[in-house]
Structure formats: C-alpha cells, structure tokens
Amino acid sequence: MHPMKGIMKAELVLEDGYRCEGTAFGAPMSVAGEVVFNTGMVGYPESMTDPSYAGQILVLTYPLVGNYGIPVNGTPEEQLDLLSKHFESSRIHIRALVVSRLSPGYSHWSAIDSLSAWMQRHNVPGLHGVDTRALTKRLRSKGCMLGKLLVDDKDVAWDDPNVKNLVADVSITEPQWFPAEGEKKVVLVDLGCKDNIVRSLVRRGLNVLKVPWDYDWTGEEADGIFLSNGPGDPKKCEDTIRILRKGFDRDIPIFGICLGHQMMALAAGADTYKLKFGHRGQNQPCIEVGTKRCYITSQNHGFAVDERSLPPEWSPWFFNANDGTNEGIRHKDRSLASVQFHPEARPGPSDTDHLFDTFARSLKHAIQYS
C-alpha cells in the first residue's frame, strides 16, 4: 500500500484502559483477543501460522516487520502431503498483528507477496506506528491482558480465549497419514500442531499418523506417541488428558512439546498455572538438570508446569535459566518425557533438534531420559 494512499487509523485498547493509536494494515476489521508479545527478531510468517497463537493479538518487539515479505509456499513436489513448506500451518492463527513499523517494501528471493497483502487475504488485521516497547513493558509489568484492535472506530466485544477450549478449534477433525521411509509409526496428537513437528519426525524416517486432540489412540497400533504444541489453557483439554492417562498403561515411548508437555504433566498428576506474561521468543535459555549445559530455545507459551506438584516417579528435566520455571519433565524409569520449549524451532534456533533423534531412538529400544 502506498504510504499516502488509503491510510486508515486503528487503535489498540487494553482491558486496563491503555490505548495506543496507529495505522491499520492487512484486513480492515476490528478484532478482540489476548494481547501477548514475542521478542524474536525474525520469523513472522512462522509465528503467525503457529496454531499456539490462536485467539491472541501478537505484538512483535522487533520494530521492523515485513522486510522479507511472505515466501512462496513451495512447489507441490517439494511439499510433504498436507504440509506447507514455509509456514507452520495452512493459515494465520493470530487474531491480529501489532508492530512498530511495517516495512513499506519487501525484498527476498523467496518472497512473492507483502505481509499486508497476505494478511488481507487471510482476513487478519494489523496495526503499525505504535510504540511496541512501551506496550511490551506494560504487558510485562501488568501481565498479559485482553485487548481489542479497533479499525475505523468499529467496536467489538472483549473476547477471552483462555476460557474456552481453543485446541478444539485448531486441531484436525480426521486423522491424517504422513508416510516416511522407515518402519516405525508414531501417533502425533494434534493439539494445534506446527508443521515442522511433522517434518522433523518424517525426516527421521518415522511414519506419522496425526490424530485429532480427542482421538482415542490407546488402541492404535503405534511405536510411540507424540504430543504437539497448541494454544490456551491445558486444563481445558480434559479429553486429551484422560486418553493420555489411559495411554500411560501401554509401555511405549511418549514425548510432548509445549502444550503436549503440559498435558503430560497433568496426566501424570501434576499441576499447571498461568504465567504472568509467558515466554515468547527465540532466546530462552534452558538448562538441563544436573548438567552445565544450557540450550537457547524457541518458546511460545502462557502456562507452565508447577514442578513442585510432580509425582515422585517424575523429575524435572530442564529449567529456564532466567526465571527458574520448569521447561521439561522426564519419567524416572520409562521412555516418557516432554519439554516446554520447541525443539522443532521455526521460528527460532534449532539447538534442541537432537531431542527428535532421542525420541526416534527410544522407539527402537527403551531409553530413560534421566
């Protein structure tokens, strides 16, 4: 859009009354949701298509966004069945995007479109020209809040995504099959799964059966179970937790990521709680318990596992080096483990990619994470 033409005012309103005005981009519509911030400096297409952001208005702290446009979505041959090459799902999951400065142009060999045009096609509004640092500091000190992005003064009702089961909205409804080179088969429970989890498993020769969040996989023929990431309050996914608890009786490896990690903890009998403003970024340091090894991880979560509530057969695996919160748990005797961060990266660093190798190994012969 030419900077002079079609300028439309827009405003972000927080539940505490804070307002900041800027310019609208993307789809010209008003929306409401929970306002969260992410400190990553790259990866807006990946973040925006991450289903974990369902129901959220995303504030990016890096001030220049849209610089490299939106990439081509792969030729059909390059694509794994049902997977996009450059995104984490087939659509934008955030409610709205808030940035300091939308790049007026874009440049990258892989780009075919501008951020704004892409958002317009996906019916997602954006706001730019606001002091995102001031906004971030507010969210940091007061905690994440509900917010409304109002375009052209059109008001909408407040909408708290954490009171409903968002997973049901973003999960698939029918199982999907992703064949691979190898023999082993993994059931991947889709709680709002990022495509790169599927890619990471298939790349290791694991056949993947992706199933809906409430699918009872306990009778399914499988060498291992993988619990994906996903949005919202973990306690809303009662069905998933119930099935998982039953699944513990089967002696097969289970691994969880993010929301999957919280499911694992809840199924094991531990508790979860809401963080003040969550961890969303690509620079979260996580230390492996009992070592001096620290990994830089990609994160996107608003809830955390309460380590003190872990039953005795489970132990903490990773913790956040900044605030000490739990970042992973492992079973003391069995191949059961989960992490709060995202080993599949995208966006973010791939430092913990080896956890997929460990999982693949666990399918061949039982391993203990402790």
Binding site: V42, P45, P63, R133, R293, P347
Partner: protein, 1063 residues
C-alpha cells in the same frame, strides 16, 4: 574456575592503526576488570600509553613495551605468569602468541594459554587448514587454494577462473587482499602480499553476495550462543570494516538467520573455541547458498560493535569463560537477574558507518575494496533504519546533516559512483533516486539489497513532501514523520528555508520531542538496570525517570579519526570518574563503539547519540544538567562550546567566550599583542595579490591554511611564490567567503608543547614536552619527549611565564594546551587550545599525575592543590612516537608534514632518552639490528646534517647504499657507499629492487622540500619501503637521533621494567 591461576599476562595491540584501533582498548580493559574481580594479579604488555588499559587503576603491572616475541619473552621470564590471554589484543597479540608457542617459550616457562587454544587460532588463520577443518563438518567455504609462490598462484587462478580473490594469511584488516580481474592484476597483488605473508590464498570471487557476521560465544562445557548478527549494507567485495553495517540483519528470513546461526555454532564447536569468535558469511542473494569466508577466534572490531549494539559485554564474558567459568554461571550484567547464557533480543536498529580520512593523503587510492582503509566508525541507534542511518551520517562529522537535505557530495558520473564504491558512495544513492533511477537499476549497479534502497528512496520521498512547504511551516504530521525518519532540525530548516532554532521551537511547541529508550538486551521482557540509552522519535514514552540532581553532562570525542583518537577517550573516561568522585552524576554522550567511554560501567548514564547542538540540547534539557564539560573530548565538543553557551547552556570551566578568544585567530592574535607575547607573523588574505604581497613582506617559506578545500591536504608550506600559486590553485576558492590564512614559517626551529591545567586564571600544573623533529611536522606526528632534553633552561622559564600570562588573560579553568616555537631562547606562540590535548594521557602517565582529574576538580570547585612546576625533574624519560598506517593506504606518500597523518601512538619509558626512544621505535614496527641502510638524504643542508650520523653508523659497521647525489656526497667525505640507480632510470641495481628483495634493513629518505607533489623517484622509494615492510625515516632529526641511540645502546640494553617501577 581453576584455582592454580594467580597471575595472568595480557597482550595489548600496541598503537592504533588502520585495522587495529581502539576496540582493543575496550576488550583489554574489560578483560582486566574480569580478572581483577577474581583476585588474579594482572600484567599487561602494551606500549599504547593513550589507552585506558594502561592506566594505573587497571592492571597490577603495566609494561609499556613492544608487543613482540622478544620483549614479551623478557616479561614472561621476569614475571613468571601462570597463564596468558592472547585474544584481547587483536592480530598483533595473536601473532606474537603464536610465535611464543611455536618457539617453545610458553612451554619453557609453563605459561598456560587461557581460552581458545593456539591450535584453533592456527586453524582459523591458515587458510588451507581452515578450509580443511570446516570441510570436515560439511561447512561450505569459498573454493580456494593457498599458495606460496607466484607460479602456483597463477595456476590456481586459472583453475578457478577470473575474477579471483587474493587474500594474505596472518594479516590484519584484509591487508594485501583484493579482487583481480586478470593475470596482470594478480601478479601485482600477489607479489605485494608475499611481502607481508608467506602464504597467499586465491579464491572464488563472490561479488555481490550478502555479507553477514555472527558473534559467537562458547564455554568449556560446549554451551554456545550467538550474541549478535550483523548484515553489511555494502555487499561482499567491500571489507566489513569499510561497509555500512546494520544489526540485527534486516533482509534475512528465519530460515536464513537460523541456518547461518547453526553453521556458526557448528563451526566454533568443531574448532573448540573457548571465549569469543566472529564468523563471517557470504550469502547468495538469490538462493540459500552460503560460504563461511572467515573466522576470527579472538575479540575483534566486529565484537566491539556487537557488544555496544546489544549491551552484551563480550570481552568481559570471554575473559571469564577463559578462566573456566560456564556461561550459565555468569549473570547478564544489564538485567543483573538473568543469565549470561542467552541471546540478546534487540528492539531497535543499529547502523555503523566507517569514517575515512583519505583526503589527508596525497596519491592515495580512494576506491573501496577488500582491504581496510577506514580509521574509525560511528554507531547510531534508532527504532527504524532511516532514523539510525541519518543519525550515523551526522555523527561522521564530515559536514553532512544526514543522507538527504544536506550539503553533500554530488557525482557527475552517477553510474560510476554507484558501481565503483568510494568513501562517499552512500550519497550517490539518494542522488540516483532523485535522478529517477529505478531500485532495480541501483541494485544492479551496487548489489545493495533493494530493502535498503527502498528505505533510502523513502527518505527522498519525505524530503520531497517537505519541499512543498518551502518558506513556511509544514504540517505537524509531516514534521513528526520527518523526525521519525531521522531528519535533524537543521535538515528540516534547510528544506523549509528557516533557521535551525526556529524549527526546534516549532516542533517543541507541537510536542514533537525525542523519547529516551534503553538498550536492555531482552527487548523489554525483564526489567533492566541499564544506563545505556538512545533517543528516538519513533516512540511515545520514555524508559527512564528524571529528576536526579547534580547531573553533569560530558561530551565525548566521537569517531576515531586522524587527529582525534583513543587519547580523548582516556580523557573522557577519567573526566567521568572525576565527576563521580566529586559526588556528581556523570551523563556522557558518545557514539564511538570502539571506546571504553561507551562501556556500561563508566558513567551514570550513557547516551549513545549525536554530539551536535540539537541532540546535546535535547539531553541537557531532559536531564536538567547543572552544566556541561566540553573540554575532554577534543575538537568536536570544543566547537560546540560557543553555540551551547548562546543557547543558554552552562558550560563548566573556561568560559566559551574565552574559548572563542583562543580559537578565533584575530581575537587570539590581539590578545597576544596585549600581553606582549610573540607569534609568527600572519595575515588572512582573500585574493592572490594580497597573498603575494604579504609573503614578499615576511619572506618565504610560509604556512598556508585555506578555509575551504575540494581535495588534498588542507595545509601546506610554500618556499616560493610558484609553490604558493600551485597550492592556492588547488584550494578551490580564495575569496571573501573563503579566506586563506598565511603565516611565516620558521625553519630550523624547535617545537615545544605545554599541557596544563588552570583554575580561575591561575596555573595549577603544567608539563613541558619537546619535539624531536623541527617545526614543520604536525604535533600529532612528532616524536615527543618528557622531560625536555635539549631545551635551554631560559627557554623553559620563558615558556612557563608565557603560559601563566595566557592562563590569566583567558581566565582559564580546566585543561589547556599551548604550542610554542623556539629558536635559541626566542619563544613564539603558535596555537592555544582551551581543552585537553592529545598528549594529556602521555604526560599524566609519565608524571604520574592525572591532569584530567585536576581539571575536572577545578571546573567543579573541588579541592585544589597547586603543584610546583619543576616537572622536568624526573629520574627517567618518556618518549611518545607516532604510528603510521601507510601500509594500508595504497599509493599514499609516506611523508610527514604540517597535516597530521599518523593514526596512533606509543609511549615508552627508559632510564634515558635513547632507551625510551628505541623502545618506542620498536613499538611502532622498527626492527633491529640494522646492517644495511638505503640513504637519500635530500637537500644539501640535510646531507650535511647527516654527516655525523653517517660516521656513527659507519663505525657500527652499517653498510650504505645510496642514490647518486647522496652517494657522491658521502663518498667525498670518505664513506664507502654502494651506488644504486633511481627506479626510473631502468638500470640495475635500482633502489626499488633493493627494497623488494629486502636487501636493506632501513630506508632513510628525506624529501627535498615541504610539498613534493609529483610522483618522484623519492616517492617510489618511500612507497616501496612501506609496501615491502622496510622501516622508513623521512625526517633528518629523527635519523640523527636514531644513529646516536644505536651507537650508545644495543637492543640488549633495553630494560624490561614496568611503568610502576619508574620514579
């Protein structure tokens, strides 16, 4: 942390030179602090006396000695350290350490190398090993071969196909590197490269690829983080030190960013780096292909920039890691609550722009390439690229107000200016946009990514929209937009045809003011204690609170450049310390990422922002400062003094009115007349006729200073009307608007300097420094001695008396410097600066009396203690010698004159002049013993002056080679001289060959007059000496002092003694 490490030796980088500048003062100082915290005894070897790291408060022992294997071995033998840190003193320290390791010195004395092992350093320095090691882990490097002969070089180039890239191994700042389009260029470059390096690399040429760097940190437990990535706006083909650089990268996707990050981490894990490391990538702009082009397993200029760009103290952390700490055990020093094992998230944009000083040199090649020529850099921070870029260009202090709406270079051949990058290419970009060039066309000419070009086009767009309001007031929305795009009040004023202060008033009335933001390493995610700030208009809220009392604003020295370097940073850091000691809060403004003054623990608040009237006023007003100190940071703040005063700012110390009385030639001259002090005759002329008339009345030679020059040196000496004419022709314009100042030039006259501190017109203390060279050599290029060795007591007495009278007349409070001419016992004043001078750290450290601390005390009304003035009574001698960087300035004539040419300095101490002098010469690259000398001793008077030295050298068995005139003269006095031909004569042996084949150990070549302009034979000889690494002397007094010193001392007589042990 290993408990058996009690004493650590740290190697510094020596004098500042192109490719190795102040960044190593920053890294060495942080390393010293990190070790001290552990209770470790520190020993520093670094002859750079102007640095912070050689200050008494940092290292336990400071050896002002050359950083070479001989002296460092001596220090090791004496100090017996447990361990050595080699990664904090640039290439100089690294090369020295490799030799010490190879020769078994480190093993012999049981000195452990901390951090990255020597073998890793070799793996990264030796190109063949480098390619092989990275190949082992599947990391792509440019196709290349290392060669050790010209013949192999030719064969490899043929195999790869032209154009090819040539790189010299073991070289700093890309010395001797460059693109070769054909065999002829290859031959020329390869042969030169072999002069500096036994090994040369021929590689595939990746012209136009993006250049991206990662700063990686690894600990002994294999934890790895990338602290910062940076993208060069100027793509591959231009050395990163010569490029405009932006952090973080702007045109990389998540895939690009994290792929390169993963490769960088894989690389340094494989190489087993412990500490800090820089990995440079080439990235194809049209695919995901990459190459790792370089790995620097040490602190570097890029790491200093990354440190300042992110707030992450890389050097401090690297030092701790080398002691065996893990990253997780260290705290983030900005938040103080989170771990150091994280990757900073930036919520701002950093732009670095190099600063060149090529105009000071004759014949120098000005096109940019893969060898570094810049002498410094600026770093600007903004919330968008346009804001940061325009700020950065202002900070350069090259007379521009930003990228657009400014007086800036104009290019006649735009395509040429775009495709053949010179130092001013960035200004060709908006010119091309205005001329209607498409982004695609500019891209194909420059290879600059369209994203950057679009940003520049948008600046031209704002400029155009403002133009519609010329002569009036623009809308507040447009004004705000312009301020957000980094337009200064001066730029807006220029477009609207208003004055700067009017624009300031309009925007302040409209509530358009800058906001203050913190650099907190975590993008606001955690509360930060940081005092590290910048201004931006792209915001709506401040990060900091106000209302503190007793704020003193200190203005820093800006980018390093010829004439203003680390010495002023020493002054600023010490001023800040003194301010705090007196109970005030120090608020500092500086934008030079290579400095210690911009470190997180130097002041109470640091503004990484501009030193211009607008920004200084903005900060002064917001902070409600009780005053500003302008006398510590050299000429930039000094020039602001009067403007600040007129804007109602309280300038501490000497009144700006009095500063102006010293700065303004007319006012100062009448003041000297009033108090009866002599000065060289001078006149300001506005026409050729006036010039001729005046020169004939005072007699030649004369010193000329035009107020406006297009190119070439600004000052010169003319011995005849013809020479004067040539010089005035070169000055673009002689007119009422651009007058030329001509003054009498006194030959065979000594130059003496006074550094002093005054309080309310009284002289508190002073140091008298004597130049070795006669007047005619810029004081920054002269060899200085304290206490004076060859000056009459009567002269010293007169100088003291005049200094007292001037202090009184200008009612000086604070630091000042006066330059004197003396002949016999006659004394004349040439210049007086009411600020700290270049030699303040030198005299402070030699006399062990902190002149800056006294000056600040005087300015802030602290306790004053008048010091007795008998400062020439010392039991030892200090010598300060200049460091030139001619090697890097291809084509430049390596002579000295009235324009300063040196880039750095060293200061050494000895029992007597000879000892200190020889140490200082070795520190700037002289090598002894000298057995064969090539002489051409210039005019007859110098030939005669050299006779006694010839006798001394002859007696030492030194063999003479000389060109015809000098040979004939010396032979007539009975010396045995081998005659060599001039290079242009085409006969053998010629002087050039002698140098190329390294058949001589020293070249003494005295220019025939003050202003040799043509490419003479002498020029060829001097240039060859520089290109082939043979020590060169071009001044007769220096040559004579050297001959005397060599006849009295051998290298073995030079004592290994720390600064603390003198006096």
């Amino acid at each position: 942390m290993p408990s058996n490490i009690h004493k650590v030796l740290i190697l510094g980088s020596g004098a500042l030179k192109i490719g190795e500048a102040g960044e190593f003062d920053y890294s060495g100082s942080q390393a010293l602090k990190a070790l001290k915290e552990e209770g470790i005894t520190t020993v520093l070897v670094n002859p750079n006396i102007a640095t912070i790291q050689t200050s008494e408060s940092l290292a336990d022992k400071v050896y002002l000695l050359p950083v070479n294997p001989e002296f460092v071995t001596g220090v090791i033998a004496k100090e017996r350290p447990d361990a050595i840190l080699v990664g904090f003193g640039g290439q100089t320290a690294l090369n020295c350490a490799i030799t010490l390791s190879d020769t078994g010195v480190l093993a012999q004395y049981g000195v452990k190398v901390l951090g990255t092992p020597i073998q890793t350093i070799k793996d990264t320095e030796d190109r063949e090993l480098f390619v092989q090691r990275l190949g082992e882990i599947g990391v792509d490097t440019p196709r290349s071969r290392a060669v050790t002969s010209w013949d192999d070089a030719r064969k490899v180039a043929d195999a790869i196909g032209y154009p090819v890239m040539v790189r010299a191994a073991f070289a700093l700042g890309g010395l001797g590197s460059g693109m070769c389009a054909d065999e002829k260029q290859l031959e020329d470059r390869v042969k030169k490269a072999f002069a500096h390096s036994p090994q040369v690399l021929i590689e595939e040429y990746l012209n136009g690829w993006k250049e991206v760097e990662y700063e990686v940190v690894r600990d002994a437990f294999d934890n790895c983080i990338t602290v910062c990535n940076m993208e060069n706006v100027d793509p591959l083909g231009i050395h990163t030190g010569e490029s405009i650089v932006v952090a973080p990268s702007q045109t990389l996707t998540n895939e690009d960013y994290h792929h390169l990050r993963e490769v960088a981490i894989r690389t340094i894990r494989h190489l087993k780096v412990v500490g800090e490391c820089n990995v440079q990538f080439a990235l194809d702009p049209h695919s995901d292909q990459y190459r790792v082009i370089e790995v620097n397993a040490r602190l570097s200029r890029s790491s200093a920039l990354a440190s300042k760009a992110t707030g992450y103290p890389l050097a401090y952390v690297a030092a701790k890691l080398s002691l065996g700490y893990s990253l997780t055990e260290l705290r983030n020093s900005v938040t103080r609550t989170t771990t150091a094992c994280f990757e900073p998230a930036l919520d701002y944009v950093v732009v670095k722009v190099p600063r060149w000083d090529l105009k000071k040199f004759r014949n120098v090649a000005t096109q940019l390439g893969s060898a570094m020529k810049s002498v410094g850099e600026v770093m600007a921070i903004g919330r968008n690229f346009e804001e940061a870029l325009q700020k950065a260009l202002r900070m350069l202090e090259v007379g521009v107000d930003g990228l657009v709406a400014t007086k800036s270079p104009q290019f006649d051949d735009l395509d040429d200016a775009l495709s053949k990058p010179g130092t001013e290419r960035v200004f060709a970009l908006p010119q091309a946009v205005r001329a209607g060039y498409s982004i695609e066309r500019i891209r194909s000419l420059t290879h600059i990514d369209p994203w950057f070009l679009q940003s520049i086009a948008s600046l031209v767009g704002v400029e155009k929209r403002l133009e519609a309001y010329r002569g009036g007031h623009c809308t507040n929305d447009l004004l705000r937009e312009a301020k957000r795009a980094g337009f200064s009040d001066a730029q807006i004023a220029r477009i609207l045809a208003l004055d700067e202060i009017t624009v300031r008033r309009i925007r302040q009335n409209a509530g358009i003011v800058p906001y203050v933001k913190q650099i907190d390493t975590l993008a606001g995610e955690y509360p930060a204690q940081t005092n590290y700030l910048y201004l931006t208009y792209d915001a709506s809220e401040d990060d900091v609170d106000w209302g503190h009392q007793k704020n003193v604003l200190l203005l820093g020295s800006g980018a390093y450049r010829i004439g203003s370097s680390v010495e002023f940073d020493w002054c600023c850091v010490n001023a800040s310390k003194a301010v705090r000691k007196l109970g005030y809060r120090s608020i500092l403004i500086n934008y030079n990422p290579e400095t210690v003054s911009t470190d997180y623990d130097v002041c109470d608040r640091l503004y990484f922002d501009g030193l211009n009237l607008e920004t200084v006023l903005d900060i002064y007003e917001r902070e409600r400062c009780m005053g500003v100190i302008v006398s510590g940071g050299g000429q930039i703040p000094n020039n602001l003094a009067l403007q600040l005063h007129e804007a109602g700012v309280r300038v501490l110390g000497t009144s700006p009115i009095d500063i102006d009385r010293a700065e303004d030639r007319h006012k100062f001259s009448s003041l000297l007349d009033e108090i009866g002090v002599a000065q060289p005759e001078w006149q300001e002329v506005t026409s050729f006729e006036d010039a001729q008339r005046f020169c004939e009345s005072i007699g030649y030679p004369v010193l000329i200073r035009p107020s406006y020059v297009l190119s070439g040196a600004a000052m010169g000496v003319a011995t005849t009307w013809q020479e004067l004419r040539v010089f005035l022709d070169r000055a673009a314009d002689v007119s009422q608007r651009h007058p030329v100042v001509i003054s009498k030039f006194y030959e065979n006259t000594r130059e003496i300097e006074v550094d002093a501190v005054g309080a309310f017109g009284n002289l508190l203390t002073m140091a008298i420094t004597e130049h070795v060279e006669n007047a005619g050599v810029h004081s920054g290029d002269a060899t200085l001695v304290v206490p004076p060795q060859r000056t009459y007591l009567e002269t010293l007495r007169r100088i003291r008396s005049i200094t007292e009278r001037i202090a009184k007349a200008l009612y000086i409070t604070g630091p000042f410097n006066i330059q004197y001419l003396s002949k016999g016992t006659d004394v004349r004043v040439i210049e007086c600066n009411l600020r700290a001078s270049r030699s303040f750290p030198f005299v402070s450290k030699i006399y062990k009396r902190n002149f800056i601390e006294m000056a600040v005390s005087a300015m802030l009304g602290g306790e004053l203690e008048s010091i007795e003035h008998h400062l020439y009574e010392l039991d030892y001698v200090g010598v300060k010698a200049p460091q030139f960087s001619f090697t890097r300035l291809q084509g430049a004539d390596p002579t000295v004159g009235v324009e300063m040419a040196s880039t750095g300095e060293v200061g050494c101490v000895g029992e007597d002049f000879e000892e200190a002098f020889l140490k200082s010469l070795i520190s700037v690259g002289f090598r002894f013993p000298i057995k064969r000398v090539l002489l051409s001793t210039g005019p007859l008077v110098d030939k005669v002056a050299f006779l006694e030295s010839a006798r001394l050298m002859d007696a030492m068995g030194i063999k003479f080679f000389a060109t015809a005139g000098t040979a004939e003269f010396l032979t007539s006095y009975g010396f045995d001289v081998t005659v060599v031909y001039w290079p242009s004569e085409g006969k053998h042996p010629d002087a050039g060959e002698l140098i190329e084949q390294k058949q001589v150990d020293l070249v003494i070549n005295i220019p025939k007059n003050f202003q040799e302009s043509e490419l003479t034979n002498d020029y060829v000889i001097r240039r060859k000496a520089v290109d082939f690494g043979i020590p060169l002397l071009t001044n007769i007094q220096l040559a004579n002092r050297l001959a005397e010193a060599l006849s009295r001392k051998t290298p073995g007589d030079l004592q290994i003694k720390e600064l603390q042990a003198y006096g």
